[in-house]
């Protein structure tokens, strides 16, 4: 069975690719559950687009829209989509995914400044974000990999800065990680549904379900990731075309 970590692995590799392109290392893949396949992906494009809103999730939404054509069709598919994103969606993206009616979000690390799935606000559950139902957001999948990529980014930007900010950003810390307060994002019963009864000590102790870091995902350049994702996404388009013909 393909699990959360397999899908998130793709997102982490894509984030690494974004880092190598000079963008913030945040990336996502949209998985269409009935097919078990990636149908869209995105990385931050705030530099290229000259807007502060071209976040990975929006780039994936645009990507999917150009594949399926209409906004109405997007709404029809959304409930069956799980979004795997390396960093918790910001409030804007969390609200957008809600208004679109996305089925579920799985993320790596918390977005301490702007997180919209529990860190700052709960746009996935609160009433004000509209008509299209709520979604569950599961944190902590490949969290350490996501954090390491962000640390690489900050150390790099700090090296280029004329006035380096502080010590914690000058040195690359590869060993210590903040605790994860699961309760901000999931009820304990939801945690058990996602991870199993045997993992509940992590819920109580605020610790990671997986402590070992997959360094090859974080450290190896992944020039082939775009080709791989394109290949996967094209299967969905072919599948749809076949269905339309039948």
């Amino acid at each position: 069975m393909v699990g959360h970590c397999d899908w998130m692995g793709l997102a982490v590799r894509l984030a690494r690719y974004a880092l190598d392109q000079g963008e913030t290392p945040v990336a996502c893949v949209f998985v269409y559950e009935p097919m078990g396949e990636v149908i869209a992906y995105g990385t931050n494009d705030t530099n290229g687009s000259l807007t502060g809103i071209a976040h990975a999730e929006f780039m994936a939404i645009n990507h999917l829209q150009s594949a399926v054509g209409t906004g109405a069709e997007m709404l029809r598919l959304a409930r069956s989509i799980t979004v795997y994103v390396t960093v918790e969606p910001c409030i804007m993206c969390a609200s957008a995914l809600r208004q679109l009616g996305i089925g579920k979000v799985v993320f790596g690390c918390a977005n301490e400044r702007f997180g919209g799935n529990g860190t700052v606000l709960h746009c996935n559950k609160d009433a004000s974000a509209g008509l299209n139902g709520t979604y569950r957001s599961v944190p902590g999948i490949m969290r350490r990999e996501a954090i390491m990529l962000l640390r690489y980014f900050y150390v790099r930007s700090n090296e280029r800065s004329p006035k380096p900010r502080n010590k914690s950003e000058r040195h690359l810390d590869k060993t210590s990680f903040p605790l994860l307060n699961w309760g901000r994002y999931l009820e304990e019963s939801e945690f058990v549904e996602e991870f199993g009864e045997e993992q509940t000590n992590h819920y109580a102790n605020h610790t990671d379900v997986a402590e070992k870091i997959n360094w090859s995902l974080v450290d190896e350049g992944c020039d082939d990731i775009i080709n791989e994702l394109e290949r996967r996404c094209s299967r969905f388009v072919e599948h749809r075309n076949k269905r339309v013909k039948q």
Binding site: I91, Q99, F114, A129, N166
Partner: protein, 328 residues
């Protein structure tokens, strides 16, 4: 800075209303509770207080991004020795003990008990009574009037220009409704460097091919970026960099309906200075304290990113009402 009495604008400081038509939107719920921040404190001998004041003036006041003018820097320490406890700087300015110690190298006086345990209100209290209460609870405060009075007094408004923009978006909203747009929300983005040429956007979600997320604010932000790209491509080498636009930095945004969480956050990401809206959205709005889930996105303490928000409360403009469950 104009004195309150000399401000040519009519401002009701109590109700926070400018010229009887612009209501300042704030989070009324958290006004009576201070937002607390940790600060670095040290204890020194009372005789060293002059050295200390010189040190703070020369090394800290201009550098520390967190303004602490509303607190008394120094308080007495109970005890037989004449000791003073002093607020050195914010924990944002000196992030750890080592940073503090290096700041204090060669300060010329002895100190002890360096600590970041003390909590102080980040801003002054809104009333004298609260200032006294907070002084006892946290740290001695100066009372220099309600800080919001000063904030309101320093804002600038060109009321005629504001009226003109609101009239423009209202009339476009009415035209859109006539054309069959079921969500006739309209927004104008005004660049402070080019106020004569606002970028106007309309909600596109009722178009069959368009997305439920194509709200007027999102479309407007993208139009501003396209406009910036176009202008940059037309610039000759000699003019590059003279007047370039960064995101929507310092823009004023005029919109017919109170924005949803997606759009309010997009305004924060775009670094706008001010948003003026006309119709509140009681279920989906995210600026008024009594709208939706009471997010007050523009002054939410945990977001640490702020922009000014006003609601036009004059009767002169009536953009088309939209269904209350919709996100504007």
């Amino acid at each position: 800075m104009v004195k309150k009495a000399l401000n040519p604008l009519k401002i009701d400081f109590k109700k926070c209303i400018v010229e009887d038509c612009l209501l300042q939107i704030r989070n009324e719920k958290n006004l009576e509770e201070p937002e607390l921040i940790n600060v670095w404190t040290i204890q020194i001998n009372a005789k060293d207080s002059k050295l200390l004041i010189d040190f703070i003036r020369s090394k800290i006041l201009d550098e520390d991004g967190i303004f602490l003018n509303h607190i008394k820097r120094i308080r007495k320490v109970e005890g037989p020795k004449k000791m003073l406890e002093v607020v050195l700087c914010s924990t944002e300015f000196a992030q750890d003990e080592a940073a503090c110690m290096s700041l204090l190298t060669n300060c010329g006086f002895n100190y002890q008990n360096l600590s970041c345990e003390n909590l102080i209100p980040k801003q002054g209290a809104p009333t004298k009574e609260l200032a006294i209460e907070w002084s006892e609870l946290y740290w001695p405060l100066n009372w220099c009037g309600n800080p919001n009075d000063q904030i309101l007094n320093e804002y600038t408004f060109d009321i005629d220009f504001i009226r003109e923009k609101l009239a423009q978006i209202t009339s476009i909203s009415q035209e859109e409704a006539k054309k069959g747009n079921k969500v006739p929300v309209v927004t104008a983005f005004v660049n402070p460097c080019d106020a004569e040429h606002p970028i106007v956007s309309t909600d596109q979600r009722s178009e069959v091919n368009d997305l439920v997320l194509d709200h007027s604010i999102m479309i407007g932000i993208r139009k501003v970026a396209e406009d910036t790209k176009l202008k940059e491509s037309q610039l000759t080498d000699s003019t590059i960099g003279t007047d370039s636009t960064y995101l929507c930095l310092n823009f004023d945004v005029y919109t017919t309906h109170e924005p949803c969480s997606m759009c309010s956050m997009a305004l924060i990401h775009s670094r706008v200075k001010r948003c003026i809206f006309i119709r509140p959205m009681s279920k989906t709005g995210t600026l008024r304290a009594d709208s939706g889930d009471g997010y007050c996105m523009h002054c939410n303490n945990s977001l640490n990113s702020k922009f000014e928000v006003f609601q036009w409360i004059g009767n002169d403009f009536a953009p088309i009402e939209i269904e209350s469950n919709l996100c504007a």
